[in-house]
Amino acid sequence: MTRSTFVYVTYIRTTPEKLWTALTDAEFMKQYWFGMHGESEWTAGSPWSLVSSEGQIFDAGAIVESDPPRRLVIRWQHQNKPELKAEGDSLCTMEMEASGPAVKLSITHTIERSPSKLIEAVSGGWPKVISNLKSLLETGTTALQEPYPAESAHAVNE
């Protein structure tokens, strides 16, 4: 079976516990995810959604695996754009691993089809989100404060 995957890795000078909080706490997420935040109990089986600052649900699914502060797997379906929603479920895996004074964060996003518009769309947004997350945890401020990148799946322009 063909699949589309991207793997993004970054090293953040923080602790796995702080990184886990940054990835799951709604108020913290809004600071680096351009106003978006995740809503979930963050335990295996619980529903999950990614919500804009206006309360619109852009992505929804469920937590597949939750092992704080090491591993989080989310079943992820886009909701906003019909052509992306039609591609169905994708799987987003976040892994945190202590590495010296830093934590290695690996984000793998996979869908069982190729090519995938969803993977193409989210792969554009992730580097900006991760980069913002890194600078927020390391310096206390984000580098990019602009509204959500226009080319991403979450742009509110349609």
């Binding site: 793997v7 090293y11 580097p127 890194k134």
Partner: protein
């Protein structure tokens, strides 16, 4: 203890070689490739390609994932985003501002 090499130094060093940039372009065109696959597109020994990939991995430009007996290579654009923010965006801003000022002035032709 030796001073650790700065991430940015590793990054620019990794980008300073045409073969390594070609490897990044190959991964950009199609992600998740094996060493064998990448070797087919480069006119150099397997060992040479391995060394280039190791350097790219050390600079975090390439991430690898084990899939059974194979090692798959993925382009990791996160450090490039960091370069963009650190070295490009800040120079771009004043110019974009100047450009929009110019546009406004040119469009106000009646005064």
């Amino acid at each position: 203890m030796a001073e650790p090499i700065d991430d940015t130094d590793l990054l620019f060093k990794a980008l300073a070689d045409p073969s390594r940039r070609k490897l990044l372009d190959l991964l950009h065109a199609e992600d998740g490739r094996t060493l064998n696959d990448l070797c087919e597109h480069l006119d150099m020994s397997r060992q040479g390609v391995t060394q280039h990939l190791d350097l790219l991995e050390a600079a975090h430009l390439v991430a690898t994932v084990r899939s059974g007996r194979e090692k798959l290579h993925y382009l990791n654009p996160v450090p490039l985003q960091a370069i963009y923010e650190r070295w490009i965006a800040k120079f771009e801003k004043p110019r974009l501002k100047a450009l929009s000022k110019l546009k406004r002035r040119l469009e106000q032709t009646d005064d």
